[in-house]
Symmetry: C2
Subunit: 354 residues, 2 copies
């Protein structure tokens, strides 16, 4: 049952990878010296180092990660857990994470929950099994424990960082934007254009982001001297489909709000779709605002007024914090990056006549 023979590849790529022993023999030093030449070059004489490097180049030696991990108990791998990879909001965040981790010598494993929380257990096992040195969590809670609960100990035992969705009660660094302030800002922007009836399309119930943004929406209403009307809150879950559904909800109403604040661009785009199909015009008949500033926001028709999140920077900040933790350095418990109100064409001043 020789694999190489069986697959008919013998003699091709089946040359065994070089081991540290091969390098040591070629350089006429011990394996310890080879290892040191790579990890702590200053502790090896210049000539020995040169011979080792030459031997490495000649053999094409690459340290075996499994052996290295087994001995040093370090995987140089980080797990990134996110709720939905298909959500374009995350891709640029991942970029930021990946590039920062890469520079620090870490690889990245992506754990896509794909909307099914059961999968979380699967990825929690990754950490438990020691497959990764640390994890960045974008999905709003810790492994194992369903939710907060007075200082429950994190049974994971590896450094964690929460990104975007702050985890209440967890004693780990949190990297986020000020969702509440941003939502308030957008609500006030709409109000400042004369809108007095501003609907709100929410995120998933119980979601921390949603909580914050909802509070911001209410803050904004209050600051503008508008009263809160529960009938203007339409449930959503950040997906295009829920935006479409919210649009249908809106279209079916006898009296409609003049502006709609969707807490994700996906929902805003889905919602606009429904409005168009119903013959309504944006922003003439109704203004629509989004949140996130994904790539498609700028090219939507009409171009979407939204809140810009520094996605790449968020990823970088989270990765930087995690690497600090992994290297035993301290890191701030809470990092907040600034958002920006991006004014495009989907929101217009309310015509006094309507």
């Amino acid at each position: 049952m020789d694999e190489a023979a069986q697959s008919g590849r013998r003699g091709r790529a089946s040359v065994r990878a070089a081991r540290i022993q091969d390098v040591a023999k070629l350089a006429e030093v011990s394996t310890a010296t080879v290892s040191r030449a790579l990890a702590t070059p200053e502790r090896v004489s210049a000539e020995a180092r040169a011979r080792v490097m030459e031997a490495i180049a000649k053999t094409g030696y690459v340290p075996n990660p499994a052996a290295r991990t087994l001995r040093s108990q370090k995987t140089y791998m980080v797990l990134v857990v996110l709720p939905d990879l298909a959500n374009t909001f995350f891709s640029k965040i991942l970029r930021g994470i990946e590039e920062t981790l890469f520079e620090a010598g870490y690889g990245m494993i992506i754990g896509d929950l794909d909307g099914s929380p059961e999968k979380e257990a699967h990825f929690a096992a990754y950490t438990a099994a020691g497959r990764v040195d640390g994890a960045i969590l974008l999905h709003g809670h810790l492994f194992g424990q369903s939710r907060g609960g007075e200082g429950a100990p994190d049974r994971i035992g590896i450094p964690l960082v929460a990104l975007c969705e702050a985890i209440p009660g967890a004693d780990i660094p949190q990297i986020e934007i000020d969702n509440r302030a941003a939502a308030s800002r957008m609500t006030r922007h709409l109000a400042s254009l004369g809108h007095r009836s501003i609907a709100y399309v929410s995120g998933p119930a119980g979601n921390i982001l949603e909580l914050e943004r909802f509070l911001g929406y209410r803050d904004g209403l209050e600051a503008a001297g508008l009263s809160f009307d529960p009938a203007l809150v339409i449930p959503g879950d950040y997906t295009i489909e829920s935006g479409v559904a919210a649009g249908q909800n809106l279209v079916a109403r006898a009296s409609r709000p003049t502006a709609v604040f969707c807490t994700s661009d996906e929902m805003a785009i889905g919602l606009m779709r429904t409005l168009f199909s119903a013959g309504l015009k944006v922003p003439d008949d109704i203004s629509v605002a989004g949140f996130d500033d994904i790539e498609f926001a700028a090219v939507a028709e009409p171009a979407l007024t939204t809140i810009h999140q520094p996605r790449r920077e968020l990823g970088q900040a989270a990765a930087t914090a995690l690497v600090a933790l992994l290297q035993g350095r301290p890191t701030p418990k809470r990092i907040r990056l600034d958002t920006e109100l991006v004014i495009r064409d989907s929101v217009a001043a309310l015509c006094p006549m309507s």
Copy 2:
């Protein structure tokens, strides 16, 4: 320099993970029996197995992947290399891959080239270092060798599968759609609606997908009795931005085609954006077709006529093929999945008057 003490976590999560020895001791068997109870249960007596299982449950034992890999030379990890994670086209493919790999007991590492081919070397090192058992390549060529070149041996030495972008001359399974036929189909569809001047927004030069689709475009023209006009080919690279640029190109022209076939939905959406900004109406003034059928295609304004690719199924098929390879089973060299022409609102019949 005790890490646990330093980070102040001692006594919390710093309980050492259970090893196979701990389980063996508790179950009063040897480590070999524990290992066998997990890998080949039928070779262990029922009672021993029961004791082992109980001990595993009690200790929460999870085999150390590094140790397992070191000994068995299997990582149970697969690398997926793709050109651009931010391209929404890939996310559902990844889903299909991930779910299939997961069922087969494999994990997935994502290698995002992020538009910079240099990164390929980085991920090639993953395979060389034995971090993964196999790889799925979505970026159109093999590692190391820049391009084809008469039967160059794959120096990687691990099973590979090409997905979406067939790799010419490579002796590995290819999973794809019939890009040529699909492009031809769309071109004929446009022609059948009376369009005689059909522009083509291309993918990146040299890209295999692009090659195929371009051939399909020409097939379609020919089938419709239309002659090919090089002036109607506008360069693109599948991104929104290049679609925007293609739109500007179009707008600037004195005489415009009546239909534009964009070889990605992203480009189609970007292009429509530019047309709107220039005061043109889709599909009244000009018809626009896409390719891929990403999520946003259905909610674009107007909804995009495009080619639907079975993305999840493509991912599943690729993963299935790779797993077969990894397990020494044969797998077909070429798998082609069907596409579908999705007719929405961005393409209209040409008004004879114009």
